[in-house]
């Protein structure tokens, strides 16, 4: 803009000289010259300067706006960066805190924990597991399960967990020493339905086992002590009834028969307590032999032949279509299970009712079911069916006998064989009890 002004001034000087040449009048020329100088100054001061200033200002202000805008953006960025950093820090410390909290929990658990990834590499071990297994974490962390089996007491654990792919197990016993027993369970860790690892939990059951053993010992001793007087009562009653001690009248005999019957119930209860004690001692399955389960079913059914006839029960035994493979089981105990199940079915089915036994097998298991159309089990009682001393109120009403141990014993025996026992029941319609035994 300044350059235009120079042209203007040059133009004014040129004009003055032109006029000087034309007029040749010095005074007039001087006057014109002065006038133009004056005009130029006026123009410069009044017009061009402010104009330039305006333009400059205008430009300035435009740039300023941009800068202002940029500044605003930068300021905004700075703010968000600041808050971002703040949030990031916060999130980080939250994660850190969460992690610490979880680790503190894991560390202070009384159960031992071991975390394996999908490839069977050990990722984490808590102090309790370290104590149980007598190992140093730095020796085993990051190693595959088969590489750590020789550390501390790991080898028994590895045997239970399985090499390579870790098995899913629930409360399997791991004896560590003479008087130290753990229970091992594994839980698959999943993220969005994808398995990402396995958590092994070691639970110390030493104390429970010891208390159990003491309880069982107590029950065994008292059961034997109870049997002796019961035998004396039994023998006396029988001799009285047999007339060994002189003839009795019918009324006396009738009463003594009832007494004999009560005494038999007491003997049965003692027997069940003994069975129970032995089951809970865990030394129940010491005699696994290959057995034909169909024969066992038949011999239990034969055992109940009289009861079936007396109650006029329509009893059906659905034998398997093909011959069942023999299975390694504790014969007497499985006999006891089937006996308990058939006994219940007959006991809690009215005269002329129906009881059906189904036996089938595939390559991996044998399945036994018994279905009756008896009194069934009330809905609110269903969860208690397998508990010790359980008897449903409708069962007590129908049949005063029974000690509520049969199904508890059955469940224990089946589970000791690593099988499963279950049932369905509708009150008034009947019940179906089933169990399976793996080969």
């Amino acid at each position: 803009m300044r350059s235009y002004f120079i042209y203007l001034e040059l133009f004014v000087i040129f004009l003055i000289f032109f006029l000087l040449l034309v007029e040749k009048n010095l005074i007039t020329t001087f006057l014109f010259f002065s006038l133009f100088i004056f005009l130029a100054v006026i123009l410069e001061l009044q017009l061009f300067y402010p104009l330039r200033k305006i333009v400059a200002n205008f430009q300035e202000s435009k740039r300023g706006q941009e800068i202002e805008q940029l500044n605003q953006i930068f300021k905004g960025l700075k703010e968000s960066l600041k808050s971002f950093r703040f949030h990031l820090g916060e999130a980080h410390s939250e994660i850190e805190e969460e992690k610490n909290r979880t680790l503190a929990m894991v560390d202070s658990l009384t159960d031992g924990l071991l975390l394996f990834n999908q490839q069977g590499k050990l990722l984490l071990i808590n102090p309790q597991a370290k104590n149980f297994l007598k190992i140093e974490p730095e020796e085993v962390i990051g190693k595959r399960i088969e590489e750590i089996s020789h550390f501390g007491k790991f080898n028994n654990l590895v045997e239970i967990l399985g090499i390579g792919k870790i098995r899913e197990i629930f409360r399997e016993e791991l004896p560590l020493a003479e008087d130290s027993i753990l229970e091992v369970s594994t839980i698959p860790i999943k993220r969005e339905n994808e398995k990402i690892g396995t958590l092994a939990i070691l639970h110390d059951v030493t104390r429970e086992k010891r208390v159990d053993a003491m309880k069982s010992e107590f029950v065994t001793i008292s059961a034997h002590q109870l049997r002796t007087p019961l035998s004396a009562i039994k023998w006396t009653l029988e001799m009285l009834l047999e007339g060994d001690l002189g003839e009795l009248n019918e009324k006396q005999k009738e009463h003594l028969k009832m007494t004999f019957h009560s005494n038999e119930r007491m003997i049965n209860l003692v027997n069940n307590l003994l069975n129970l004690a032995v089951i809970e001692e865990g030394r129940y399955l010491h005699n696994l032999v290959p057995t034909n389960i169909e024969e066992i079913c038949q011999s239990v059914i034969d055992y109940f032949k009289l009861a079936i006839e007396q109650k006029k029960i329509n009893f059906i035994f659905n034998r398997p279509k093909e011959k069942i493979k023999t299975i390694s089981i504790d014969k007497e105990k499985i006999f006891l299970v089937i006996q308990n199940l058939i006994d219940n079915a007959l006991r809690y089915t009215q005269n002329c009712g129906q009881v059906a036994v189904f036996l089938k097998s595939d390559n991996i298991k044998i399945e036994f079911c018994i279905k009756d159309n008896g009194i069934g089990i009330p809905k609110n009682q269903l969860p208690k069916v397998f508990s010790k001393f359980f008897r449903a109120p409708n069962a007590v009403k129908l049949e005063t006998e029974g000690n509520g141990l049969g199904l508890y014993i059955a469940k224990n025996i089946i589970e000791a064989h690593k099988g499963r026992i279950w049932f369905e029941s509708i009150e008034g319609k009947g019940s179906t009890f089933c169990f399976n035994l793996p080969y």
Partner: protein
């Protein structure tokens, strides 16, 4: 007349059994513990022994194994009559040479005498 010997520490049970056996025509002798029992058996030379297991002093298992070691009485048929009824007790008794194992509470005197008779036949 066949002679039956009973080793049983519970007097009432021993008396009941003696009475029942006597009524069935047996001559009955008894002892309340193992040591006394082994001594008397050697004198009396019974035809059969009913042996309890839980006894004061040496127990029934010990009595049984001692009897088997004494040549004059080693052939004596022994029925264990006890309230011990665990599988291992039964197996142990039979392995030591008992001819049968009866749990007292599971048998009546009548049934026990049937067993005795069938063995002595």
């Amino acid at each position: 007349m066949k002679k039956i010997f009973i080793i049983e520490d519970d007097k009432f049970l021993r008396d009941l059994m003696s009475e029942k056996l006597s009524s069935q025509g047996f001559e009955v002798f008894g002892a309340i513990n193992g040591e006394e029992g082994i001594k008397k058996i050697q004198e009396i030379k019974p035809d059969l022994l009913l042996l309890d297991l839980i006894l004061p002093g040496i127990d029934g298992f010990e009595v049984l194994s001692q009897i088997k070691k004494i040549p004059e009485i080693s052939k004596l048929p022994v029925i264990i009559l006890s309230n011990l009824g665990q599988k291992e007790d039964i197996e142990r008794g039979l392995n030591l040479g008992a001819i049968d194992y009866l749990i007292k509470a599971h048998f009546t005197p009548k049934e026990i005498i049937e067993k005795v008779k069938s063995i002595l036949k």
